[in-house]
Each structure stands twice: as C-alpha cells, then as structure tokens.
Symmetry: C2
DNA sequence: TGTGTTTAGTCAGATACTCTGATTAAAGTA
DNA sequence: TACTTTAATCAGAGTATCTGACTAAACACA
C-alpha cells in the first residue's frame, strides 16, 4: 500500500475518534469546525493565520469561526497591534474540550503502542516529526 | 505536536501533490473524486464497497461515481454474480492517470528519504503498515 | 506628507460535497 | 410463498468550500 494512504488511514482514524469523544462529551462541533478550533492559539490567532494553517481560504475560515462564535466556542477581540485585525480566541466553554481530546488521544496512543511496541512508536514519532519539517506549509 | 496532526500533515501533503500532478497531466478530477477513483479495483468494485472503503455514504459514493462516469473515467457494468449489484470499473482513460500518480508518489518518497534517511523511512513504513491493521475500517 | 501598495477581513454568490430518509428490485431464508 | 436483508437509486436538505469584489487600516517611500 502506498505511503500516502498509509498515513491517511490512521490520521483519519484519530480525527474520527477524537471528534466522537468531544461530541460525546457534549461539545457540538463538526469536523471542519474542529480543525479550525484546534489551531487557535491560547493567546489568540488571526483569521488569516487560521486559514493558512488549516489550508482553507479566509472566507471559509471566517465562515467556520462565525459558527463557532455563535455556538460560544470562540470570540473575536481587537488586535491591539493592528487596527485592521482581530484575534480569534477560545472561550472558557471551548477549553473544556481540551482535556477530553487529550484523554482520547492518550487512549489512542496507548492502543497503538500496545499493538506496535514502544520502540516502533518512538521511531514513528521521530520520523513524522522530521517529515513535518518539509511538509507543513505553515511552519 | 500530537501524533494525529503529525500524521495528517504529511498525509494531506501527499494528497495535494498527487492531485496536482494528476490535474497537471490533464485529468480533471477533484480530491473527493480521486479518493473514490483510487479505490476502484482492477476487476471492478461495488458501490457499497467503495463507500465503505472511502468512508462515505452510498449516496455520496454514487454521486461521485456518477460524475466520474460522465467524465469518462469510470463505467458501471452488471455484476454477473448478483443481479442487484453493478461493478464500477476504471476506463482506459482513467488508467492513464495511474503512472502519473505513481511517479509523483515515487518523487515524494525519494524526497522524504533524502530528508529523514533510508533507515527511518523503512521504520516509518513498517510502523504505519502495522497501524493500518488496527485503524483501517475496510480490511 | 501625501500617494500608491499591501494586508486583514468581510460581502455576495456559486459550486461541490455529504447527509438523512424513503424507495425499488434482487437475493437470501425459513 | 412470505419475510428479511442487501445493492443501489431518488429526492431533498444542509454543510463546507471556493472565486471575485470590496472596505479599511497599515505600510513604504519619494
């Protein structure tokens, strides 16, 4: 099987499981919303940066942020350093989802380690870390 | 960085690059169409199987197959073993895209190997192969 | 300082993708 | 034969995404 698919399958598996866990905990967000939400920095992030990072247009990011704002997961505050810009910030409500996501991620990693072994898990992480250096458009 | 994102980033990078290469070679397909197209078996595949494999509903798979059929990349033939079913098959036209995709994939793998080294690349593949055993919903 | 260019974000409109629910027809089962 | 399941489609709706045009603030520099 080609390595693209080999990366895609577990990647989607993680996405599905974390979203399911977060939804089950009562946070009603979609996958697309979650992809934006998880990229918001604790200190706040500009829309343009979110868009780049999630690899969507500013319009799409704006659309998703609007929804997350309406649902009370995000808020927009003026950017003190730039009058044109606003900072998107996560609300207290959204912060409640973080431990849920982390717990599910930890559960997944434990299962994976169980299946492939501690050594291979470390190798996997190391290789992926290095790959992100050349494949992450937002670094 | 969490391992979900660590998998997602290079995975999307591969998708983007292969799609771009295939598009550049004159095959006018979307990402969603490509995800279905690449899952069609040489001997033909049932719509239901495609849907499961690509993790979308039968309706969505049907919608995408319709478009690919109109564009001449897929055809539907009766399934000789089941009167209800039809087999989706790739046309000669679509087969031309395979070497394009393979060449781009080879290029990507070469670049990656260049960056992380042959040994780590082999370890990566091994770990991912094993992970797919527990994360591939369609195996 | 004033003018032209870039940047951050939004508005409007269109398209693509995906889903839920209901339906038809062919198999499979007892 | 009657009941249940399975493969696929139809109809309709909702979500996500894009292109193009626009406003306002910031920046660059002659």
């Amino acid at each position: 099987m080609n390595i693209g698919l080999l990366l895609f399958i577990p990647s989607r598996n993680v996405e599905n499981r974390i979203l399911a866990a977060v939804n089950a905990a009562g946070f009603d967000v979609s996958q697309a919303q979650a992809r934006v939400l998880m990229r918001v920095d604790p200190e706040g992030t500009r829309l343009t940066v979110l868009a780049e990072s999630a690899q969507v247009t500013k319009q799409t990011a704006g659309f998703l942020v609007d929804q997350l704002e309406k649902a009370g997961y995000l808020e927009r505050v003026p950017d003190p350093t730039d009058g044109r810009a606003r900072l998107v910030r996560v609300t207290e409500k959204a912060k409640g989802a973080v431990p849920v996501a982390n717990a599910e991620m930890a559960r997944i990693e434990a299962e994976w380690e169980q299946h492939i072994g501690k050594r291979r898990m470390a190798q996997l992480r190391e290789a992926l870390d290095m790959l992100c250096e050349i494949t992450d458009p937002y670094r």
